[in-house]
Subunit: 320 residues, 2 copies
DNA sequence: CGAAGTTCCGCTCATATGAGCGACAGTTGC
DNA sequence: GCAACTGTCGCTCATATGAGCGGAACTTCG
């Protein structure tokens, strides 16, 4: 009936509360409190335990901003991430969410990038949103990790993400104009030999932090999927492709899936991506649960910027 | 602008929250946390300080019942009381408040009275309410401290408070039937020599805990005031009478006021009351602020059972 | 560029604290 | 009446913790 299991009567209750106030709010030591109330310090400790377990003292952790720190923490430890930022952005328009998460990711990047870092950027709309929101960055080199994939009819005007970010940072930019995938391996080979491309690629090994999006191998859930022919999509799906991270395809366990397409891609390879110390993915949408899990399990991604809904789903899926 | 002064970015924020959760909610030690996050224990301590001062960690003390523990604590330390129970009873009908406070006082008494105590009861409606609510009490002697003062037209049917409480306790009752005040000193003298009265009075010195009401020397604020002739009321007011506790009259500083009436009272004296180790007063109503302060200052009362409104007023008045 | 703050960090050492123990009192069941 | 049980208390001793310090990195001026 009574919720307060510890207290036997009002005097006990008030005493416990007094002790708790002095300890938790006034910051006095248990020894001091014990002296003040003529109790043993053990008694004080037991009263405080009672106060905690009976709910007389309630401790809450949270903050007034848009970051759900508790959820971020849980997601971080559940997936073993390096960094994790979960915003409580409502699940409305993709563009809105992208903007929110982009801003959150920009804040994160501003905070964690040091002058010793080398920043890699993949081509994704969420990365572009981040670039837009970015206002300050340590002076680091910025390296383009993949070719661009402009979708017909959609002008993102954001092929210059790398250049923009480098301008904010005040560091050198290693970028190139090339598509993410081409029709045949020979063309890809040729492109990779282009001076700008080759120079950017030569820097990939020294990248210390990268930002990418994660796509699920489904319609509308990956720019690369949408740009790939139907037959090839199906073939790749048959081979177990589950997620696409900056052009790198992995199956549900996070293992890279090699295929014809791999040869025709202009961009970072699976091994190179795994070698980057920190890859931050900006992801949103319920549909991407398994793709994100795959990317994390495969070691492609080790930090996340996402929203509450997906975070909860990820935790649930990872725990089962 | 930002309330969280401590955190410089989302990563810092999430880290601080994680550390705080492990420390405050999971009960891990700072050393453990330091190891887990590869920080020095000092850094952990500083993060926790930040978390506290920035409001990321909020600690509240309160409980779901009717006792306002925080206010009780503050009133207790402000007035230097032994015990204090403040309920958040709304200020409605006096009878309702009396019943609530009576129940609270009964709980308090049940809790703090030990078999070694001797209990003294004064005559007051609030004490009667307490007796009604009392359901359990250590087997102690119960001593009547004053004569009764039945008001014309009000049948309290509670002249037997002492007998009732003693029955609940299972201890001996020392009670008598006599009025609180009589028209002349000689009659008072004679009454005091009555065997029952004398026997009860002889126990007053051994009383260890007493329960009383506190009256303000104003109309409707003291049964004794209302029962006293107008001339005498005024004369006593002129002498500075501010409060009445179980028939004992004190001025605003708590000093006893001796007068004709004193000689004509049947009950405990000021000196005897001050000698009782713990006198618990049950008081309600905004009008009694100064009376209660006087009673406490004079050492007549050293524990209080009251309601939030009066408690706040008492704290405000005592602090000024 | 150099000097004077300013902030952050991790150290030492005295103190505060917790785990676990045995003593003791009150309760229960025979 | 007595024995087992239960809950409370305060102890010891190893560990956790805080106050205050000095050094290093970074800022801010001249």
């Amino acid at each position: 009936m009574a919720i307060d299991s510890g207290a036997r009567g009002p005097a006990q209750l008030v005493l416990t509360a007094s002790v708790a106030r002095r300890y938790y709010l006034d910051g006095r030591s248990k020894v001091e409190i014990a002296q003040e109330f003529a109790l043993s310090r053990f008694k004080v400790a037991r009263l405080l335990e009672d106060a905690r377990s009976s709910g007389l003292v309630r401790i809450e952790i949270g903050h007034p901003g848009s970051v759900d720190v508790e959820l971020s923490d849980r997601l971080m430890s559940t997936l073993g991430l390096q960094h994790c930022v979960v915003t409580d952005t409502p699940d409305d328009l993709p563009a809105t969410m992208r903007a929110h998460l982009g801003a959150a990711a920009a804040d994160l990047l501003t905070e964690i990038v040091t002058p010793d870092d080398v920043l890699g950027l993949s081509w994704a709309r969420s990365v572009s949103s981040m670039a837009t929101a970015l206002q300050r960055l340590a002076p680091v080199p910025v390296v383009q990790l993949t070719g661009a994939l402009a979708r017909p009819g959609v002008d993102d005007s954001s092929i210059d993400v790398v250049r923009d970010v480098a301008r904010v940072a005040g560091g050198p930019a290693y970028f190139f104009y090339a598509p993410m995938s081409v029709p045949d391996a020979a063309t890809a080979q040729a492109l990779r030999r282009q001076p700008e491309v080759a120079q950017a690629f030569s820097r990939i090994g020294s990248v210390t932090r990268a930002v990418a999006g994660v796509g699920a191998w489904e319609p509308e859930q990956s720019t690369l999927f949408d740009a790939t022919g139907e037959a090839e999509r199906r073939e790749l799906a048959r081979q177990g492709v589950c997620a696409e991270i900056s052009g790198v395809l992995v199956d549900a366990d996070g293992n890279p899936v090699r295929s014809d397409l791999t040869e025709r891609m202009i961009g970072i390879t699976a091994d190179q991506m795994r070698a980057v110390p920190e890859v931050i993915a900006i992801v949103y949408g319920r549909a991407k649960v398994h793709a994100v899990l795959a990317a994390v399990r495969g070691g492609m991604v080790n930090s996340l910027v996402t929203h509450s809904t997906l975070a909860e789903l990820l935790i649930a899926a990872a725990s089962s």
